[in-house]
Amino acid sequence: MRFSEAKGRKVVSSSTAATVGKVSRFVVDPATRAVVAVELRKTQDGDVLRWSDITAFGADAVTVTDADKIGDGGEQVKALSGKSHRVLGKRVLTSTGDELGKVDDVDFDPASGALTAILVDKGPEVPAGRLLGVGSYAVVVRDEP
């Protein structure tokens, strides 16, 4: 599934069947190459939902057991949130110092949250296994062997 597809998807509590928010952004951990949390909008209180608290990331809705799972995400998620850790739109540099383009979209596995590929605007997609780091300046990927 693409980040662009999943954005705007409603988050529904399975205990009350009410919509508790909408997916706005993804928090990615470059070390594990996975989505660790989603940032929501239109929520009552707090705006971060940890990936581990998601019951299912479905095609039509994201389900959680209860709205109280939504909070600040904790220290680890906070450290990976914010503009400098965002992937979309950032320039992509290889470990040899060459720019590949900008991140257009990211493909991930909705079952596990694992990233599968980084889609670059002017080049072939980069398998997520090559991701090394996400910083304020660039997304760094390992050079092709």
């Binding site: 470059p30 400098s84 950032k90 540099l93 290889t94 470990s95 040899t96 110092g97 060459d98 720019e99 090394l132 780091g133 996400v134 910083g135 304020s136 300046y137 660039a138 997304v139 760094v140 050079d143």
Partner: protein, 192 residues
């Protein structure tokens, strides 16, 4: 690549942070290799940094960025400069120096330095040539041409001595220059 293209290039860690940008190139081994770089902060109003970057700490010198593992590899600029001086780096700037052939001909004035990273020799950043503003002796006065260099050369800060045969291997663009350098060095190696 030309060293003028390396300056102002960002220094980026594997975590994607731009910690500095290249300010100047430090030459080592008598001007024959790149020993490291002095750094400046990022941004329009950032001044020079106290830290420098030794060539050994460079992970890769790419077309768009200089990659390093993380910011702990930066060392005080003094240390990097001292290490380069110890290996015979002149420290003097070669730009503007007059290039003399050992036959006593003035070939021109250095305008830029051409370097190449050689993975075969342990990843040294070798100075392979100069871009010079040609003198009369080259028959293309006033034009900018590329002149290959031997592995080692004598530089005084005033003059640079190159073998007279370097004249035969003058190139006009970087595309074929690598081959010209190799041919020139092979010829020198054969003669000596």
């Amino acid at each position: 690549m030309r060293t003028s293209e390396i300056t102002r290039r960002p220094v980026v860690t594997m975590a994607g942070e731009d910690v500095a940008q290249i300010k100047d190139v430090i030459y080592a081994a008598g001007g024959g290799t790149v020993g490291g770089f002095t750094l400046a902060g990022r941004g329009l109003f950032a001044g020079p940094l106290k830290e420098g970057l030794a060539w050994e700490s460079v992970h890769a010198l790419g077309a768009d960025a200089v990659m390093i593992r993380d910011e702990t590899v930066l060392q005080p600029t003094k240390v990097v400069l001292a290490a380069s001086r110890a290996s015979g780096g002149s420290g003097a700037d070669v730009l503007g120096s007059q290039v003399l052939s050992d036959a006593g001909l003035d070939l021109g004035v250095v305008r830029d330095v051409i370097v190449s990273v050689d993975r075969a020799t342990g990843g040294h950043c070798d100075v392979v040539g100069y871009e010079i503003e040609a003198s009369e002796a080259l028959g293309t006065q006033g034009e900018r041409v590329l002149i290959p260099l031997p592995d080692t050369l004598a530089a005084s800060g005033e003059h640079l001595m190159v073998p007279a045969s370097a004249k035969e291997f003058v190139g006009r663009d970087l595309a074929g220059f690598g081959a010209a350098v190799e041919a020139f060095r092979a010829q020198l190696g054969g003669a000596g």
